[in-house]
Symmetry: C2
Subunit: 474 residues, 2 copies
């Protein structure tokens, strides 16, 4: 087996190695594109299943809108087109003919959806309208970082319309809370939840709520965003309703999205020197059984024993696989560690004779437990333990790397000390954020909700500022 690059010394090579060598993904032939292979796509299917159910449970209905957007739609909302025009892919020719108006491949679906909303919304009784779609999105990229930066990516985008601003704000916050719950409970990803600064918000939004986490290469990752669109698009697309007094009003809108990018975050947050580490609730294979046959005469007994365990675990819904390959047990241990499987059960003749299981966790603990009809409960408890441990390790990474900084000099010192997230009092100012980006390559990532009421002197100007986290970002 090829040697895995060192995660601390060379994160980029490590990241490329684990995505390619574990069967997660491949590069696509067109620059900026990627191929989701079965092992990697299973992770996205788990997102679709679990997050999909959470979204549905909140009364949001799935739809599918066209891939093609007439360029004029994109141009209808001024900020929106300025934000997206530079990165769109355009169709100019189809069915052997030049098109009269070029078509844009959706970089996000606000404009094509909202053009149709006036047909669906007439009265306050039609509100709230809550829809969602799982689809592919194109935003042109020249360099590929698997999952993190790809021209085409997969996501879900939710879109809601409300009679009041309060209704829309509530929806933005509940979308962000839903994401946070899914991230923590399934992907074991913690983050700072809060507002984006003016310069970083979605093109066309009144405000954007984000969750920002930290990857092991000390770069901040914007995981998912929820936008209050206010009445900006409603005015651009004429989306009005008659209220209870029979007066015409513009609707208030939100949109929120979660993409395959998050899988990249999960890889980069939990991975270690042995390869991928998958949170048990996400792992396509939660337990791998490795038969260890040292003498041929033991083969049948070991095989039967493994089969019985696999069957028992599958019956209680644990995603289990037995590796019957010809390779040595040692090679298999490495291989499944590289693939990030949370638990490994080793079965040799001793385990058969003693009615035991030798269990190794992906995080390095090994134990021998007795086999009995409810042993799956112990294994489930171990999986839960790993799940919890991954979250707390990721929290530690995040919190240990966050440092309060009260002046530019302290910022420089914090950067030099190797910390990654700099919490400062900042008076939101797009121009000044740009200057900081040019000077230090850092950007304002998030104004965390939980410290938003603390005010203090801006770390540069002394004006009243709000705690804001700066970091180098993906």
């Amino acid at each position: 087996m090829e040697k895995i690059p060192n995660i601390s010394e060379n994160f980029a090579d490590w990241y490329q190695f684990v995505t390619l060598k574990t069967g997660l993904a491949d590069y696509g032939p067109v620059k900026g594109t990627m191929i989701h292979r079965p092992y990697g796509f299973a992770l996205w299917k788990q997102v679709q299943k679990v997050l999909g159910q959470m979204i549905e449970a909140d009364g949001v209905e799935d739809v599918y809108f066209p891939l093609f957007i007439p360029y004029s739609f994109l141009a209808a909302e001024k900020e929106h087109v300025e934000g997206f025009a530079p990165e769109v892919a355009m169709i100019t020719e189809a069915g052997g003919e030049k098109l009269e108006e070029p078509l844009v491949i959706r970089p996000t679906s606000e404009t094509i959806m909202y053009k149709t909303f006036p047909n669906w919304i007439q009265s306050y009784r039609d509100l709230p309208l809550k829809i969602n779609q799982w689809c592919n999105i194109v935003r042109w990229e020249k360099r590929t970082v698997m999952y993190m930066r790809t021209s085409e990516f997969l996501w879900q985008e939710g879109h809601t319309a409300h009679a009041t601003r309060d209704g829309a704000v509530e929806d933005v916050l509940s979308a962000a809370t839903r994401y946070e719950k899914f991230l923590r409970e399934y992907m074991a990803i913690p983050g700072y939840k809060g507002y984006k600064t003016t310069g970083e918000k979605f093109a066309g939004a009144d405000f954007t709520v984000t969750i920002e986490s930290l990857v092991k290469n000390k770069k901040a990752l914007q995981i998912c965003t929820s936008h209050l669109l206010g009445q900006n698009f409603a005015k651009a697309f004429g989306i009005t309703f008659l209220d209870e007094k029979n007066e015409s009003q513009h609707v208030w809108q939100t949109s929120w999205g979660f993409s395959t990018r998050t899988l990249g975050g999960m890889i980069g947050i939990h991975g270690d020197e042995k390869g991928l580490v998958l949170p048990p609730r996400m792992a396509p294979v939660q337990i791998v059984i490795i038969p260890i046959v040292k003498s041929e005469e033991d083969r049948i007994a070991i095989a039967n024993y493994c089969e019985g365990i696999e069957k028992m675990l599958k019956n209680v819904g644990i995603r289990t696989k037995t590796d019957w390959g010809n390779e040595t047990p040692g090679w298999k241990f490495n291989q499944w560690e590289l693939k990030g499987v949370p638990l490994r059960i080793e079965i040799g003749i001793r385990e058969v004779e003693q009615k035991q299981l030798t269990v190794a966790t992906r995080l390095g603990n090994k134990s021998v437990i007795a086999l009995y009809s409810e042993v799956y409960k112990e294994l489930n408890a171990l999986l839960d333990e790993i799940q919890a441990l991954l979250l707390s390790q990721a929290e530690q990474l995040l919190f240990e790397n966050t440092v309060d900084v009260a002046s530019e000099a302290e910022l420089v010192a914090a950067m030099e000390s190797g910390k990654a997230m700099y919490r400062v009092f900042f008076k939101d100012d797009t121009e000044r954020a740009k200057t900081l980006q040019e000077k230090y390559k850092i950007t304002p990532r998030v104004i965390p909700f939980d410290t938003i009421d603390q005010k203090g002197p801006d770390f540069m100007t002394g004006e009243e500022g709000t705690p804001t986290i700066f970091a180098k970002a993906y």
Copy 2:
């Protein structure tokens, strides 16, 4: 409520009316595109769920490949590019720059997938390779017929590679059988399963297996196809493996797809003068409960009764909805009939007092049944009955419209008599098929498997021919 067009006299208007007015779909703003609304998209979700599980159970793994295909890939297989070039959409500009090589939006994914297969397949141990993806596809269309003809449509495409031709043939047939089972058991769609003629097979395939059904407008619909690709693409893309004798061989390949087009078939096969008729196993709402409150003093009793029934039915997994809208019961009856809901339960004060349900099926039967804890079993039996009846009605439509024809004169007579599918002995001949299409607008739809061993004189030339069904097609 607007009057529904007559299905027998004006099928096209009927079809447009029911797709638009039931909330299934809307036209997209770009010609040829459609919007899948929640009620319609729920049908596709059901396909994804059930057919997806069947595909997975056969050992096929889900993947996702890029949307963009370099034009040169498409051109690598000669027949393939000739078949698809006229209908592709091309990206010539992206990220503000002209592209060096134009990109095609996938019209199907053979070429982009198979370009990657050589990285994944080295030895016979890597075979069979069986993958599937659910995605959007673009084949340019200028006129839209909802579901039936749209520039962008949704589908699943399965792709497999095998060490032997036999292995590939077996896979093509099992894919077709899987489709047939799903079509009959869930969508209540019967069809003739068999080969496509040479002129109608997939561009680049050795042969294509199809299932052809008949819609109420007497047009044949190709429901889904499975292709033996032979070694055509393997040779074009250099997909080889070392066999057990360590000799290099080209793989044998298949591909097979099932699209949103089939939903159009389901609408057009089962619909009637009152609107949509949804097979119970597909219906997003299987039972609608209509409260009938004639006197305000009964409202609470009726509401509680309805709630109890809805809860009981949902608990046993029956997709149930109670319509609490302000409209009259009569309006609601029409509305839910238009939407094709299989069963309606009417609850007035009499039903409450007598502990009864008044049950009306979408096919016109009405009965009163006693309420008891296991009444859901009777309702499930009714749903099964409707499911079976729809299949047998569709079979009747198909078989009654199929007629044996032994000469061109008999063909003309059959067409004049209003029959839709003409079974003739035909010696496969692409040129002659074209002549028939120009003269009568009919094409060879399928060479049914179940009569393939019967040989007879070609209905025009007298040469040995095989039973082949001609019809006007979508």
